[in-house]
C-alpha cells in the first residue's frame, strides 16, 4: 500500500464502491444493505437527516467500524480496512466535522503529524513539511501559510488544513462529514469552490449534509438515506421541497408559516450596551435596540461579530458591561443569572451540549435544570420526583421528543431531540422574553420546522423574541425585523423583505 501511494500521487483516478453494507448496534440497524458508488470526478452527495446512518456508513468506510455484512471495493477489488490507517493508505481521506488538529502546532506540523518527514538521525524535517504544504496549497489556490499556528486561524482555513492533510496523504476519495456546519456563508461558498476544484482534478468527493441549498449547488449525484437505508437518488435540479420530502419521508413545507406580527409595546430595551471580554477587548460596542411584545427581532450577521456576547450579556454571564438592559421596566444589569431567569427570561444557548444540557443527566433531570430549587419541582429543598416524572412524560409528548423514555440521558439523543428538550424546558414557564441563539444550528429538516413553529407560537402568545441567526434564510423567514451586526455594532435594523444583496453587504459592515 505504502509503495502504491507514492506511485499514484495525484494522478490515478479511483472508483470506490460500497456493496450491501450492514451495520448493527445491538438491536439497532444503523446501516441496512447500503449500496453506494463513488466515481472519480464526481461530487456525490449523501443526504439524510441526523440519525439516518450517514456517519455510521462513513465510519465503516474509514475503518472505524467493522461492517456486519457487505463489502468495500476499490477499483472493483474487495478491500478490508481494520483501521483509519488502512483506509488512508488505500487513498481515502476524511475531513471530519470536528477538526482533528492540534491548535498549538503550525499548519505544517499538523499536516505531517503521524507521518513526519525526517532527516538523518531522526530529526524532523520541517522544511520538507513546509514545502509539501506549500505545494498543495498553491496547486489548489488554498492560500494557507504553512507557518501559521492553527489555533489562530479562522474555522474555514482550519478546514482547509484538514483538506491539505488528506491530500498530502494522496487521498483519491475525500469524505466531507457535515463540513459546512461550522462555516459562515462566505466560507461555505469557498468550500464549495474547493470541492469542485478537487472534483475537476479527478478525485471522488463524498459530501455528507442535510442542507438542501448546498446539495443543489454542489452535487453531481445525490443519494438520499433514511433510517439506515438508501431511499433513492435524486437530481440536483429537483426542488428543495422534493429533496426534503425524500429525506424526511413525508411532504415538507420549508417556508415558516407565520402571520404578520402584531407588535405591542416595547418590553425589552437595550441601551448603549458595551461588553468587554476577559482580555479587555471591546466585543460589543454601544448597541441599542428595542423588542416589542409579540415580535421577533433577528440579530443577523457572520458568527463572531458580538452576537454571542450580546445574548450572554442579557443572560448575565458577561459581567464586564456598560449600558442598560431593561426588561419590563426593570434594569437587569447587576442582577444574577437566577434573578434574570426568575424575571421571565427564557434562554436557548448557542451550544446546547455545552451550555444547554447536562449530557449525563436524564431528560427529566434536564427539564428541571434551572428550576430544581422551587415548586413544583422541589419543596423545601426536596426534589418532587413524582411530579417530575409526570411533567417529563407530558413534555416528551408535547414536544415530540423521540427517546426511549424520560430516563434516557441527553447524550443519547440526536441534536434535534436535544434542542426539543431545551425548548420544552424554556417554554414551559411564563416568559417575558425568549432569547434563542442559533436555535436550529445543526438540526435536521423535521426538527427545524418544529423549532420554528414553537418560536412563532411564542411570539403569537405575545412574548418578545430575540433570535441570533447566521444563515440569511432563517433570518428573513423568521424575523419581523432584522438587526445586522458587524464587529460588535448594529449596522442597521431593516424589515425582513430587504434584498439579500443589501443584507449581505450589511453583514460586511456596509450600512443599507
Amino acid at each position: 500500500m505504502r509503495h502504491r501511494k507514492s506511485v499514484r500521487f495525484g494522478t490515478e483516478a479511483m472508483k470506490l464502491e460500497l456493496r450491501g453494507i450492514t451495520k448493527r448496534f445491538g438491536s439497532l440497524v444503523a446501516n441496512d444493505g447500503v449500496n453506494l458508488l463513488v466515481e472519480p470526478g464526481q461530487i456525490h452527495c449523501l443526504l439524510g437527516e441526523n440519525g439516518a446512518g450517514k456517519s455510521t456508513l462513513m465510519n465503516v468506510l474509514y475503518g472505524l467500524y467493522q461492517a456486519d455484512g457487505g463489502e468495500i471495493l476499490i477499483d472493483d477489488k474487495a478491500v478490508k480496512f481494520s483501521g483509519p490507517g488502512d483506509a488512508m493508505a488505500a487513498g481515502i481521506g476524511m475531513v471530519h466535522q470536528h477538526f482533528m488538529l492540534i491548535p498549538v502546532f503550525t499548519v505544517a506540523e499538523n499536516v505531517v503529524l503521524g507521518h513526519e518527514p525526517v532527516k538523518a538521525g531522526g530529526i524532523l524535517d520541517l522544511a520538507a513539511a513546509r514545502a509539501k504544504v506549500k505545494e498543495v496549497s498553491d496547486r489548489f489556490g488554498f492560500d494557507v501559510d504553512p507557518d501559521a499556528v492553527v489555533g489562530d486561524l479562522p474555522v474555514g482555513v482550519q478546514q482547509r488544513v484538514e483538506i491539505i492533510k488528506a491530500l498530502i496523504g494522496d487521498a483519491q476519495v475525500l469524505v466531507f462529514d457535515e463540513p459546512t456546519a461550522v462555516l459562515t456563508p462566505q466560507e461555505t461558498d469557498e468550500l464549495m469552490a474547493i470541492m469542485k476544484q478537487l472534483r475537476d482534478s479527478g478525485r471522488g468527493i463524498v459530501f455528507i449534509t442535510h442542507k438542501l441549498r448546498e446539495v443543489r449547488e454542489a452535487a453531481d449525484k445525490i443519494t438520499v438515506m433514511r433510517l439506515g437505508k438508501i431511499v433513492g437518488s435524486a437530481s440536483p435540479t429537483d426542488t428543495a421541497e422534493e429533496l426534503a420530502s425524500m429525506m424526511v419521508g413525508r411532504a415538507v413545507d420549508l417556508d415558516v408559516a407565520k402571520t404578520p406580527a402584531k407588535p405591542g409595546e416595547a418590553v425589552l430595551s437595550v441601551k448603549d450596551l458595551s461588553v468587554w471580554d476577559a482580555a479587555g477587548a471591546k466585543v460589543l460596542d454601544d448597541v441599542s435596540f428595542e423588542i416589542h411584545a409579540g415580535e421577533i427581532l433577528v440579530i443577523a450577521g457572520v458568527q463572531g461579530n458580538g452576537q454571542t456576547e450580546l445574548t450572554e450579556a442579557i443572560l448575565g454571564t458577561q459581567t464586564k458591561t456598560r449600558g442598560t438592559i431593561v426588561l419590563d421596566g426593570q434594569n437587569l444589569i447587576g442582577s444574577s443569572v437566577k434573578e434574570r431567569l426568575d424575571a421571565g427570561l427564557g434562554f436557548v444557548p448557542e451550544d446546547r451540549t455545552e451550555d444547554g444540557l447536562v449530557a449525563d443527566f436524564t431528560i427529566a433531570e434536564n427539564l428541571m435544570l434551572n428550576r430544581s430549587d422551587r415548586a413544583p419541582f422541589a419543596k423545601r429543598g426536596v426534589l418532587q420526583l413524582g411530579f417530575l416524572k409526570d411533567f417529563a412524560q407530558r413534555k416528551l409528548k408535547e414536544f415530540d421528543v423521540r427517546a426511549q423514555g424520560i430516563e434516557s440521558t441527553a447524550a443519547q439523543l440526536s441534536g434535534g431531540n436535544q434542542q426539543k428538550v431545551v425548548l420544552a424546558r424554556e417554554l414551559s414557564r411564563k416568559l417575558s422574553l425568549l432569547v434563542a441563539s442559533q436555535p436550529t444550528r445543526g438540526l435536521d429538516v423535521g426538527s427545524i420546522e418544529f423549532v420554528h413553529e414553537q418560536i412563532v407560537a411564542t411570539r403569537d402568545a405575545g412574548t418578545p423574541v430575540l433570535i441570533v441567526a447566521t444563515e440569511l434564510d432563517e433570518a428573513t423567514q423568521l424575523g419581523d425585523r432584522i438587526a445586522v451586526m458587524y464587529r460588535g455594532k448594529i449596522v442597521g435594523i431593516v424589515p425582513p423583505n430587504t434584498d439579500r444583496a443589501v443584507l449581505g453587504k450589511m453583514m460586511a459592515g456596509i450600512p443599507a
Binding site: 472505524l64 443569572v337 434574570r340 434562554f347 444547554g356 434551572n370 430544581s372 430549587d373 426534589l383
Partner: protein
Amino acid sequence: MIRKILRSNVALSALAVLVSFVVGGVLIAVSNPAVQSTSGYFFSRPGDTLSAVWNAVFGAYDALFRGSIFNYQASNPADMISPITETLAYATPITMAGLGLAVAFRSGLFNIGGTGQILFGAMFAGWVGINVHLPWALHFPLAVLAGVLGGALFGALVGFLKATTGANEVIVTIMFNYIASLLLQYLLKTPILQAPHNINPISRPILDSAKYPAFLGPQFRLHAGVFAMLLAVWLVWWLLNRSTLGFQFRALGHNPSAAKVAGINIGRTYVLVMAVSGALAGLAGTSQILGTEGSLTTGVAASFGFDAITVALLGRNNPIGVLAAGILFGGLRAGAVTMQASQGVPIDIVFIVQSMIVLFIAAPPLVKAIFRIRDEKKAVAA
C-alpha cells in the same frame, strides 16, 4: 480524568479487586522463603515448588480471612467474631471520609484534603471532648457536632478560595493537609491540647461522656460510630438523589457551564460542596477521636484520608459502593495484622494490593485487556 473514572462500571471495579489479589498472591509466593528454596531444584521436583506456592498463598489469604471476617480457629465465640468487628472498626472512618470525597468528586471537585479535614474534625471534637463537662446526652452530640463543623469549615475554606480566586482545589487541599497536620503537631505541644506534665505530644484522654458507646463491650474496638457511618451512607444517598442541593452539586460536576446558564451560583456551590465533603471527613475524625483512639495524637488520621480517595473511586462515588469499598479496605487492614503475625507475610503486601486496586481502577483498559472485554473501538483495533 474524574469523569473517566466515574464512567467505569461495577464489574470493572470488582475485576480490579480480583486482579489485585492475584498480583498480591504472586508477590506472596515469590517472597516466600520456602518457595525460594524449593524453586532451586524446581526441575527435578517441581511438585515441591508448587505445593510451597500453594501453602504460601493459601496460608496468607486464609490468615487474611481469619483476621478480617471470621476466625474459625478461635476457641470462644467472642474471638471468632472479633475479626469482623475489627474490620468494621477500620471501615467506619474510611467509609465516612470516602463518602465525603465521593460528594466532592461527584461535584467535579477533586478533594485530596481528606487527611486535613479529618484532622480538623478530630481537633474540634477532641477539644470539646476534653474540656467541656456535660452529661453524655449533651456532651457526645456536641462533640460530634464540633468535629463535623471543624471539617466543614476547613473544607469550605477550600471552596471559598476556589470560588473567589480560582485556586485549584487539588493544590490547595494538598497544602491544607500539611497545614492541618503541622497545626495539630504544634497544638499538641501547647497547653491548648497537650496533657499537663507530659513531654509527649499527646492530649488528655477524652472524657467518657463524649465517647461513642462501645456497644459490644470494652474488649472490642468497634463502637457506635458504625451506626453513624450507616446513617451517613443513607444521608449522602438522599442528598445526591433526592435534594435540590445534591442535584445542583451533580449538575456542577457534570457540566459547569450548563449549570451556570441554568442560574446555579457556581461559587456558592463550590463552598457548599466542600463544606459537605469536609463535614463527612470531620465525622470520620470524630469516629477516630471519640471512638477508637481515646486521646489526641499526631497519628489520629492514620492513612484514612488517602484510603478514602481510593475507596471513593473504587465505590464509583456511589454511597453504597463506597460502603462496600470501605468494608473491603477495613478488612484488608484488619486482616493484614493476622497475616503478618501467623504467616510472616509482610504487611506491605496489603498496601501493594491496595495500590494495585488504585492502578487498575485508574486504568480500565488494563483490566479490559486482561479479561478481553472488548468495546467497539477495541474490536476494530484488534
